[in-house]
């Protein structure tokens, strides 16, 4: 199977490729599958290079969410005295949201800069370009796994045992990744042409941290605003994480969650279609 380039197969199973302006490739998605090894190796490259030539290396993935959590716990829990969900310790409430937020923020910023960072590849070789932004999600995911270990440690410390909802966590991790992929694809494609978007993302990420229910529970939002608040797709993801990790303490607000889900799907659709539409001009513009 893997030896399609082998000499014996020349002439036998060769594909006929037609290159024409505006031609949409029928086998794009199967091509994507054929280039899976490239996906793996690009992801591996990003991960192994990420903390090269830094002193504390991978500890960066630990320190940043941990410090933010401490600050948020102090400000929102102690000073502003916002209520936690049920019996859950405030630090856990914050950290359960820090996890998906950091995952989302990292994935979004990495993927939206990904095409520009790989400009040399785009100008010199062909492959389905979708591989580049999606491969960056892996880096964000690895950072997430590291922070996750801290969460487990915190749970031990607080002697907090999550309920059966914990089993749904992988679904919500995927959701956080998809939530970042949609806008990420869109912005990275725009970034090729208009570098303005390079400045948009740090702003969105900084702004979003306060707009999303990271430092506080979304239960503090007045009931009549909940649905409107859920227009922010990360509200659904974060609520979902809390529901999984804090068990019955954070019941899921279903209409809001479904709305977030719909928004994530819409962004993903827009992102993928825009990306596919502009993909062929990347090499000319980058």
């Amino acid at each position: 199977m893997t030896n399609t380039l082998n000499k014996s197969t020349i002439g036998a199973s060769e594909a006929i490729l037609v290159i024409e302006p505006g031609r949409t490739e029928k086998n794009y998605w199967s091509d994507l599958w054929r280039y899976r090894e490239l996906f793996v190796i690009l992801a591996w490259r990003d991960v192994s290079v990420r903390y090269k030539q830094t002193i504390i290396g991978i500890l960066w993935a630990v320190i940043r969410p941990l410090l933010t959590m401490v600050v948020f716990t102090v400000i929102f829990g102690r000073i502003a005295k916002l209520p936690s969900d049920g019996q859950a310790p405030y630090a856990l409430l914050v950290f359960a949201a820090m996890l998906p937020w950091t995952l989302f923020a990292n994935a979004l910023s990495e993927s939206s800069n990904s095409l520009i960072n790989n400009a040399n590849l785009i100008g010199k070789v062909y492959f389905p370009r979708l591989i580049i932004p999606t491969a960056t999600l892996v880096t964000a995911f690895i950072d997430f796994l590291i922070s996750f270990v801290i969460l487990l440690g915190m749970m031990l410390w607080y002697k907090f045992i999550p309920g059966w909802q914990f089993l749904y966590l992988p679904g919500f991790i995927l959701l956080a990744l998809l939530a970042s992929l949609g806008p990420g694809l869109w912005i990275t494609a725009l970034n090729v042409k208009y570098r303005d978007f390079r400045y948009v993302i740090p702003f969105v990420v900084q702004f979003g941290l306060y707009v999303s229910p990271v430092g506080f529970s979304s239960n503090v939002i007045p009931e009549q605003w909940r649905l409107l608040y859920s227009l922010n797709p990360m509200v659904g993801v974060i609520d979902g994480f809390r529901w999984c990790l804090l068990g019955g303490n954070s019941p899921l607000y279903l209409p809001g969650f479904l709305l977030s889900l719909g928004i994530i799907a819409a962004f993903l659709y827009l992102g993928v279609t825009h990306f596919r539409k502009t993909e062929k001009t990347f090499a000319d513009l980058i």
Partner: protein, 433 residues
């Protein structure tokens, strides 16, 4: 079996290039603001309307490739020849699916691997070993393939000892050897290779050529772009000549190289065209120099009794009243004179944004017999050079017009010493009988 593996029909690729209107003629802050606001408005209008947004006020369409059709049979090694900017790289990029053609179509049977540079995707922080996997995968090899050929690749590259050192510690020679070693072990059905042999030392180049020769022996199809005519003729059985984006000749390598050299010899003398990759930041870009006779025809041999016209085509991006364009005229390495447009035109005469054409006339009966070289110069007066190449761009020849003298068939050092031979006017003031 003479089946076609690549068939190109009427391929064309158009690029749209934007030119900025003059910044130099905006003197006040208010004007700059107005201009920026207008640009912003235009851009956002384009964005909303879904039109491509192009930076600049005037647009120019450039056909990098036009009406190119050809067929390539299985197992052929085809050289693609042409000057800089002839469209070779664009053609390769279309064939390797990096960019899309504007018109026409290509049908390709089999898998294409393209090698437009060596070491694509090499990451300086990663070790040699890691980069072999990374680069190999990027070029389209599978992991199992790379594993199988790993030892061969390492042996070919001659960097065994540094395999676990990050490539940023490599010398440039080692880097190129490793990069090429990976590329040389690609085994696609169709291999597209751009000028990659220009790197590396002569010995290694020879090794690479040998390796590529093996590839074609195995019945694979190779498309090869190079400026090295020797490499093209050893590797390729046939060739394609591109000139200004058009296919001007297809045939055996020898025929095509002959044609190319004939064209080059013709053009180097009477015309010079700027290579594509000049400094985009510069105020002005010298595009072309032509040597013309008084009938506006390109020529390179003149009689000493004829005037010679030198035509400069220059694109001005940022008008500047101190822009100077000129040339040194040399013969046998000796500068005869330097001339600049400001010698006879008032300063600031060359400030129109866009394409400007200037003509300098060398009057008749001044130059003596010989080959003259012209070295162009463009500068902002007393500020900086825009263009100051050491190499001459054009060459023309002057032959003595024997009808001008009743005594000499030619002007030589012995009958007329001196670096120029001006035909001065002699009059008879007085004769007594």
């Amino acid at each position: 079996m003479s089946d076609t593996v690549i068939k190109a029909e009427n391929l064309g690729k158009r690029y749209t290039i934007g030119h900025q209107r003059g910044r130099g003629d905006q003197t006040t802050f208010r004007e700059v603001l107005v201009q920026n606001a207008r640009n912003l408005w235009n851009k956002s209008r384009d964005l909303v309307a879904g039109r491509p947004v192009i930076v600049g006020d005037t647009l120019e369409e450039v056909w990098a490739l036009k009406d190119v059709s050809f067929e390539i049979k299985r197992g052929e090694a085809v050289g693609i020849i042409g000057r800089n900017g002839a469209g070779k790289s664009t053609l390769l990029k279309i064939l390797s699916r990096i960019t899309e053609p504007t018109e026409g179509r290509v049908t390709i049977r089999g898998r294409v691997a393209s090698l437009l540079e060596v070491g694509t995707g090499f990451h300086s922080e990663l070790t040699g070993r890691e980069n072999i996997y990374l680069n190999g995968t990027i070029l389209g090899m599978t992991r199992t393939e790379i594993k199988k050929k790993f030892d061969e690749i390492v042996a070919f590259s001659e960097v065994e000892r540094y395999l676990d050192t990050p490539v940023k510690r490599y010398s440039s020679g080692m880097y190129v050897r490793l990069a090429f070693a990976v590329a040389a072990h690609l085994e696609p059905e169709i291999l597209v290779v751009d000028e990659v042999l220009a790197v590396g030392d002569a010995e290694f180049q020879k090794k690479c050529l040998g390796k590529m020769g093996d590839v074609t022996q195995e019945g694979r199809t190779v498309l090869f772009v190079s400026h090295n005519m020797g490499a093209v003729s050893t590797l390729c059985s046939s060739a394609i000549l591109l000139n200004s984006g058009r296919l001007t000749r297809q045939g055996t390598t020898q025929q095509v190289i002959d044609e190319y050299e004939r064209l080059e010899a013709l053009e180097v003398r009477s015309e010079w065209t700027a290579p594509y990759n000049d400094d985009a930041e510069a105020e002005a870009h010298l595009k072309k120099i032509e040597i013309l006779d008084c009938f506006d025809q390109k020529r390179h041999i003149f009689k000493s009794s004829e005037p010679i016209f030198i035509k400069f085509t220059i694109d001005i991006d940022k008008p500047n009243k101190n822009l100077k364009i000129g040339f040194d005229l040399t013969r046998n390495g000796l500068i005869l004179f330097r001339s600049e447009q400001t010698d006879s035109l008032p300063p600031g005469s060359l400030i129109k944004k866009g394409t400007n054409i200037l003509v300098c006339r060398i009057p008749p009966d001044i130059l003596r017999e010989g080959d003259y070289f012209l070295r162009p110069m463009v500068s902002i007066h007393m500020v900086h050079w825009i263009q100051n190449d050491i190499a001459p761009a054009v060459l023309f020849t002057v032959r003595f017009d024997a009808s001008r003298s009743s005594y000499h068939m030619s002007i030589t050092e012995s009958n007329h010493p001196g670096i120029i031979f001006p035909q001065l006017i002699w009059t008879v003031e007085l004769t007594t009988s």
